[in-house]
Symmetry: C2
Subunit: 328 residues, 2 copies
């Protein structure tokens, strides 16, 4: 910058002001400085800037790649979410630092803020680490999480309207006059528990005599879901006629397990998935599912975090959630 100042025959502060579009500098001077800077391929050093400003304009986005790798990332949903976040951050000229800190190592998160590597965190997928996130947020960290808020959640959560999702699935099954429901998913995750609650509420409200069984599974992959489903169907006398799966991948797996058991999804049984991943639409048969507005999700996550960074309050929120009826 000193060089540019010399070349432009002005002082360093003037160059700084010109480059940052400060109104304190005369238009003619600004033009002149900009021209020289451009001609010499000069770019302001971001690190010096960040050091001085104490603001990095960088958001750390945490994605648990490990667990997704384990699942072969069969579920592209989380990546669409990432894409949405990336776009929303880009619109605000914020840099996106992608990191995969240890699930439960709060220190790794703290370190990022303390060392001023980022201004705040967007955590994609809360998993089972509510406690860690709770503590992190309590320490004053600007933090927004994709997931589901509980009664006493002390941080800002943006998520699907899981309870509504459960209700929508329940309504659909009841419209189809189904009686033997199966909830397929691990309710130890709060998102999943809420979907279960929504389903149950609708059932209770319907007055019909409907049972709800639950099938938990250990792993998010297609294979695990298929095995669990097959195993389940083999053991039960009367198979379910309505399955609400925690993901589209799991729903597809159940469709196949049904088929192997001689049950045709969409005829003898209904199946609803979750997320509306692209392949749900072109699976054979196309899978009925709960769709969330991912684009809105990305925008929402980012805008809530920005609010926090500005010292304002950011309440948790849910995004638009709807049932997409297809052939199952």
């Amino acid at each position: 910058m000193d060089d540019i100042a010399r070349l432009a025959k002005v002082s360093k502060p003037t160059v700084s002001r010109a480059l940052s579009n400060s109104p304190l500098v005369k238009d003619a001077t600004r033009e002149h400085v900009l021209e020289i800077a451009r001609k010499h391929g000069y770019a302001v050093n971001r690190n010096a800037q960040k050091l001085r400003h104490k603001r990095t304009n960088t958001i750390a986005v945490s994605l648990d790649f490990r667990s997704h790798k384990q699942n072969h990332i069969s579920d592209p949903f989380i990546f669409e979410l990432l894409a949405g976040v990336a776009e929303a951050l880009g619109d605000l000229n914020q840099d996106l630092l992608l990191c995969a800190p240890d699930h439960n190592n709060a220190d790794a998160f703290q370190q990022m803020l303390l060392s001023r590597g980022a201004d705040g965190f967007i955590v994609l997928g809360q998993g089972h680490r509510e406690n860690m996130l709770e503590a992190f947020a309590a320490s004053g960290a600007p933090l927004v999480v994709w997931g589901a808020a509980g009664e006493h959640t002390g941080y800002c959560v943006v998520g699907s309207d899981n309870y509504l999702g459960g209700q929508l699935a329940g309504d659909y099954f009841i419209r189809k006059n189904r009686k033997r429901f199966l909830f397929f998913g691990d309710t130890s995750f709060r998102e999943i528990q809420l979907r279960h609650d929504g389903l149950q509420q609708v059932v209770a409200n319907s007055g019909n005599e409907i049972e709800i069984d639950t099938l938990t599974l250990s792993n998010f992959s297609y294979e695990a879901a298929f095995n669990a489903a097959t195993n389940y169907l083999g053991k039960r006398r009367s198979p379910p006629d309505a399955v609400f799966a925690f993901s589209d991948t799991a729903a597809m797996a159940f469709v196949c397990a049904f088929r192997d058991a001689g049950i045709e999804a969409g005829k003898e049984a209904s199946i609803v998935g979750y997320n509306d991943i692209p392949s749900a639409a072109y699976f054979n048969p196309p899978v009925t599912t709960i769709k969330q507005d991912i684009h809105q999700a990305g925008k929402q996550l980012v805008s809530s975090l920005m609010r926090l960074l500005d010292g304002e309050d950011a309440p948790s929120s849910t995004i638009h959630t709807e049932l997409i009826v297809r052939d199952t």
Copy 2:
């Protein structure tokens, strides 16, 4: 750091050395300093560090979210690649800055390096911007690209062995005694062209009388592929009996288009996809495809870039590529 120095009753340089594990500091002193730093929740300011070091330990990863959004990211392949890169960078303690600069705006790329926002670039998907990348690399930018190298490519490319992929598909078709080949993809992308060349080479070598037609499509989505396929089948007198599609998504679309035309994939016709995305395996029928070692890809991209950053040479390379035979 001054505060820590005072509290530890040593000087600032000593603290700096202790925290960076320098051998110049006595073990006892280091312990003591570390203890104080830990106790007071002190973390070295990364921005000051980067400023001083002139090395950021940050790699910018460029992903064209726009085009992927347009395609509804039906193809999760690129994200698996991102996951691989993220993991490899994490292992080396490098930060990953995810950015989506304008495809053709070389300035945005330059700016990132000039402003010391990152040490180098990993570009995921070269698309049609070979010229821009060529110029960028020629300007001395440390750059590694996922794609396919051409005759005169002046930058380091890591990619699938596309030519071999084409050969593998061709061999498969010939083994099945297919005669009317269709290459389904846009050969204006170099990766795709290479696959076409590989297929053609095998055909030429076989001595059999085999024709190869090509069906180009404008867009990577399932819908576009399905429409193109349906349209194609409607127009042709004799349908192809072997289709090599540029992606698994497109292959699945063709399976469905075939079905609508009364042709069963795997019986009257063979179809081979590319990438081996998870849903290829559980599509109905499971899709035969060309699989690449993504994990190796991530490692390779990163290690090549690190070599460049160390001033060494980094030749282009291809990763392990194989045929996965399934039902189509």
